[in-house]
Homo-oligomer: 201 residues x 2
DNA sequence: CTTGAGAATCTAGCACTGCTAGCGACTAGA
DNA sequence: TCTAGTCGCTAGCAGTGCTAGATTCTCAAG
């Protein structure tokens, strides 16, 4: 085998891998778009395959199953949420806590399908001691950073979990039309004030 | 038609209606049991029909579809939750708020399938201006009653919504293994304290 | 007691789901 | 040019929710 032939082979292999990675991303994007346009019920392997213009089995050469595709969308979504929360850090005229709460709930409201994949559908993303995806760490880290200034003597991580739970509860119950649509801002203000109040004076 | 014949006819009709009502309840109970034992994924129309020892179409003579069965289970579940919260009212040694929070989360943890039907799966139970089932009113009413003593000058219903959201968030995130299993009690205490703190001194 | 109308129930099937075995075409290296 | 081996496709399986149409059963009237 000549050196040029070997080089050519490697190059072709590289191109193949690149194309494969692109198609991998194409599937994730198509799934997210389909879900955002028509809901997760519309995301069937057949429709997804049609959207990416391949046959169904191709999906299974990239992902172990439909769940794995949803999981990939969810993890990307965590990255988006983390960036949104980071942007909110620098919003003027309100506390970090308030800004984070509003940014979080705005994300949940504007991208309900994405939010659903991330936190409502149980897609067993590793969360405990396992290898937690960086996107998740980032998102939770942003919440910790928002809570930190008001934690006072209270345990930071526990307080963040409670704050997050309240936001998550508001997000899902609002989406399910279980809370009065007006009073949305009042709930946010009340929550933020409650979390702030424990600060040591 | 003789008078006795008419009476007999009415009686038979009554018996029929009674048997029909019993079977209606049998279906709901079977669905709940199946869900609690093996999860909602296992609740298929076929397995449910087998469990009640009728064919599938019988289910559809009682309910418009599978969703309606889940909804019936969910509404009954709200009744159960309401009673649990009511029981917690009279627990000694802790505030009403604390007792309600613990009772709510214990219910969610001990009957995850039932909780899922009630508040996670979106089964569009009427909630807004429509005819809201009494069971739902009762359950939310119990939460309002628990929050009322500490509301102070804050809007009672809004504060209850926030409190409920936090409980719901903790319940679902705990179930999805998103929160640290130890620290459960710490989260409850922190939440209760935060909600209490706003009370006018 | 027989009979026939009407209700109650079941069988069988549809269109869909996630997923996969196995075939055929195409590619790349000898 | 020939031959491995990869690649993607067709076709199919077992399952889903749901329903049309046949069948069985019930019960009052004759």
């Amino acid at each position: 085998m000549s050196s040029s032939a070997r080089f050519s082979g490697v190059s072709i292999q590289n191109r193949r891998e690149r194309e494969r990675a692109e198609r991998h991303q194409l599937i994730i994007d198509a799934a997210r778009e389909l879900a955002e346009q028509e809901g997760w019920d519309a995301v069937t392997t057949r429709r997804l395959a049609e959207k990416v213009e391949y046959s169904q089995p191709v999906l299974y050469s990239h992902f172990k199953g439909k769940d794995a595709i949803v999981r990939a969308v969810a993890i990307e979504g965590c990255g988006v949420l983390a960036r949104e929360l980071r942007k909110a850090r620098s919003s003027q005229g309100k506390s970090r806590l308030q800004a984070a709460a509003e940014a979080y709930l705005e994300f949940a409201e504007k991208r309900p399908a994405l939010y659903d994949a991330m936190f409502v559908q149980q897609v067993d993303i590793p969360w405990g001691t396992d290898e937690v995806p960086q996107e998740l760490r980032d998102a939770f880290g942003e919440l910790v950073a928002a809570v930190e200034p008001v934690a006072g003597e209270r345990d930071l991580e526990t307080l963040t979990e409670v704050f997050w739970s309240a936001l998550h509860g508001i997000a899902t119950l609002t989406h399910g039309k279980r809370l009065r649509p007006d009073h949305h801002q009042a709930r946010i203000d009340l929550l933020v004030r409650s979390v702030q109040l424990g600060t040591a004076p």
